[in-house]
Symmetry: C2
Subunit: 322 residues, 2 copies
C-alpha cells in the first residue's frame, strides 16, 4: 500500500495529478491519496481532502507525521502575487518548504533512517532570468528575476541538500508554462498564452498583449501531471546529485500558436484574437526563457508534446467544454 500526499492538491495541476493517480495503476493496486490545500473544487478528484495552510505553524509537522511514501509539493504563491506580497511569497514558497523538509527529516530520524520519502517538488522555469542564450541547456545558471523564481531556486537547493544527506529522496521539476490552462483567465502575465487559444475556442474574444514574434516554452497540464508521476517512480540514483531538472516542452512563437489554432478550429475562431499591445506585459515577457535543450530530462524518460498542434489536441480532449 502506497500512501501519497499532494500538497496543493486542490489547484489545477494538483487535481490533474490526482485524477491521473486515480485512473492509472501507477503506484501498484493499492494507493491511499491525501490532498492538502486551502480549498478544493466542488466535484474534485478522488482522495481524502485536508483543508489547511502549509505555511501555518505545525502543519508541515502533522502532514509528515503521517509518513507518506510519496509527497508531491505543488503549493505556491504565484509569481505575480509573490511580487506584490514579498513577505508572504518567501513565507509560503521557501519557508514552508523548509518546514516540510525538517519535519520529514525528523520522521527519518525517528524511524532510525527507514523512512525516506520521495519528494517531488514543482519548480519552474522562473528560476532562469535574462540574458540567456536562445536555447537554455542543463548547465545554465539559475539567476531569477522574480521573487517567485528566487524562492523556487532556493527551495531546490534545500531539497538537493536534504536528499544528499539521505533524509529524503527528492527531485525538483522546472515546469514550462502550462498551456492550455482550463478555466478562467487569471492575473498572471502569462495568462494570455492560454487565453488566446481557450477563449476563441469558446467563441469569446481574447486579447493578445505582445508581438506575435514572442517565443516561449510550453507544455500541457496533462504533460505536467505525467512529469510528476514519472518523477515519483524514477531511480533518483540516475540524477547524480543534481536533483533539479529542466522539463521538456514545446518552443514556439505566438504566431505558431495562432497557426495551430487555425489548423484545429479555422480562421473564424482565429479572428477572435484581438491585438491589444500592453507594454507592461511585453516588458515582463521579454525576460522569459524562449527555448531549452532538455537532454537530461529526455534521457531520464520525461516526455512532453512535440508540437503546439498536439498541445491544442490535448486541451480539446481533456478540458474543452463549450
Amino acid at each position: 500500500m502506497k500512501r501519497i500526499l499532494v500538497i496543493g492538491g486542490g489547484g489545477m495541476l494538483g487535481q490533474k495529478l490526482a485524477h491521473r493517480i486515480a485512473k492509472k495503476e501507477l503506484f501498484g493496486p493499492e494507493v491511499e491519496v491525501s490532498l492538502f490545500d486551502l480549498s478544493f473544487p466542488a466535484h474534485g478528484a478522488a482522495g481524502s481532502e485536508i483543508t489547511g495552510n502549509i505555511a501555518a505553524p505545525g502543519v508541515a509537522k502533522s502532514l509528515a507525521a503521517q509518513r507518506p511514501d510519496i509527497i508531491f509539493h505543488l503549493a505556491a504563491i504565484v509569481s505575480g502575487h509573490a511580487e506584490t506580497d514579498f513577505a508572504l511569497g518567501w513565507d509560503v514558497n521557501l519557508f514552508a518548504t523548509w518546514a516540510l523538509l525538517n519535519a520529514l527529516k525528523d520522521e527519518h530520524e525517528a524511524s532510525e533512517g527507514t523512512y525516506q520519502p520521495r519528494l517531488v517538488f514543482a519548480s519552474s522555469i522562473a528560476v532562469f532570468g535574462a540574458p540567456f542564450p536562445n536555447q537554455i541547456d542543463d548547465a545554465f545558471l539559475s539567476a531569477p528575476l522574480t521573487s517567485y523564481g528566487a524562492q523556487k531556486a532556493a527551495s531546490e537547493l534545500m531539497i538537493t541538500d536534504f536528499s544528499r544527506k539521505g533524509f529524503i529522496d527528492g527531485i525538483s521539476l522546472r515546469l514550462p508554462t502550462l498551456c492550455v490552462r482550463p478555466g478562467k483567465a487569471n492575473a498572471a502575465a502569462s495568462s494570455f498564452f492560454s487565453g488566446i487559444i481557450r477563449e476563441p475556442l469558446n467563441g469569446v474574444e481574447a486579447l493578445l498583449p505582445v508581438a506575435e514574434t514572442v517565443r516561449h516554452w510550453h507544455a500541457s497540464p496533462r504533460a505536467a501531471a505525467t512529469f510528476l508521476t514519472h518523477a515519483a517512480t524514477l531511480d533518483t540514483q540516475l540524477l547524480n546529485g543534481r536533483t533539479a531538472l529542466n522539463m521538456p516542452g514545446v518552443s514556439c512563437t505566438v504566431a505558431e500558436q495562432i497557426e495551430a489554432l487555425r489548423n484545429a478550429a479555422g480562421s473564424e475562431v482565429v479572428g477572435l484574437i484581438k491585438r491589444d499591445p500592453d507594454p507592461a506585459i511585453a516588458s515582463i515577457v521579454k525576460n522569459w526563457p524562449r527555448d531549452f535543450r532538455t537532454d537530461r530530462a529526455i534521457e531520464l524518460g520525461f516526455e512532453a508534446e512535440s508540437s503546439f498542434d498536439e498541445i491544442i489536441r490535448v486541451y480539446l480532449e481533456d478540458d474543452f467544454q463549450r
Copy 2:
C-alpha cells in the same frame, strides 16, 4: 562620515579587511568601523569590537538599527563543520543572512527608503559542484555538493532578490580558496593547500594528502580583502541584476605550487613536503573546481595575483613570521 560594519570581523579575512580599511583612505577621510564576531584576536585591527553571535535572536536587528552605510558579511560556519552539524550550518549560514536582510529591509522602510546599505557578502566557489568543465564560466550553474555551498548559494539568491526590490544594495563574491592562510593548520580539507607552503617556510614538515596533478583555484588573503573593498564602492548598476560574481584567481596544480615554493625558498625547504596520500581528502578535493574564466569580475575591476609565485610573495610580505 562612513559607518562600516564587518560581521565576522574577528576572523582571518575580517582582520585583513579591517587592517586594509584602517590603512587606506578607501571610504573617505572619516570612517567608523565596527567589528562583530564571537571573539577577537588579542591585538587585532582597529575598530569597535562587538562580541556576539549573528545567529542569536535580535542580534541582526540591533546591528541593522545602527544603519551602517557598508556591511561586510563574512561570518560563517566553515564547510567541514556545516557537514557535521547540519542544523547549525543552515542556521548560521542561511537563516542569519535572512534575519540580517529582513532587519535591513525594516530599516529601509522605517527610513522611508532613504537607507539602502551596500551589503558585501562573502560567498564561495563551493556553490559549484562536479561535474564541471575544465574552466567554469560566468553562466555555469550552481550545483553545490556540500551544505555549506547550498547555504551560500541560497543566501546569494536572497541577496539578489532584496537588492532587486531596492531594500539593500547587495553583491556576493564567490571567493577562491584563500592561500597562503597564515596561522595554524585547521581541519578543513583544503588546509593542505596552504600548509605545504607555510609549514616548510617555517622549517616544519608538511603532509601532502593528494596527487601533485590536483589543480585548484587560489587567491591570497590580501587579494580577497581588495575584492571586498572594491565591491563596497562598485557601481552595482553594472551588475545588471546578477549580483553574484566569480572572483578571479590563480589556477595551478600542486606541482606548480611546489615549484613556486622552490623558486622562493629553495629545494631544501621543498624537501619538507612529505607525500602522505589520504583517499578521504582526495575524494573530496576531486569534486572541487579547477579553473575559472572570470570575465565579468575582471571587466568590473576585480584583480587577483597572476601566478602562484606572486601568491607566495604576498604571503612573505604580509604574514611570514619565522
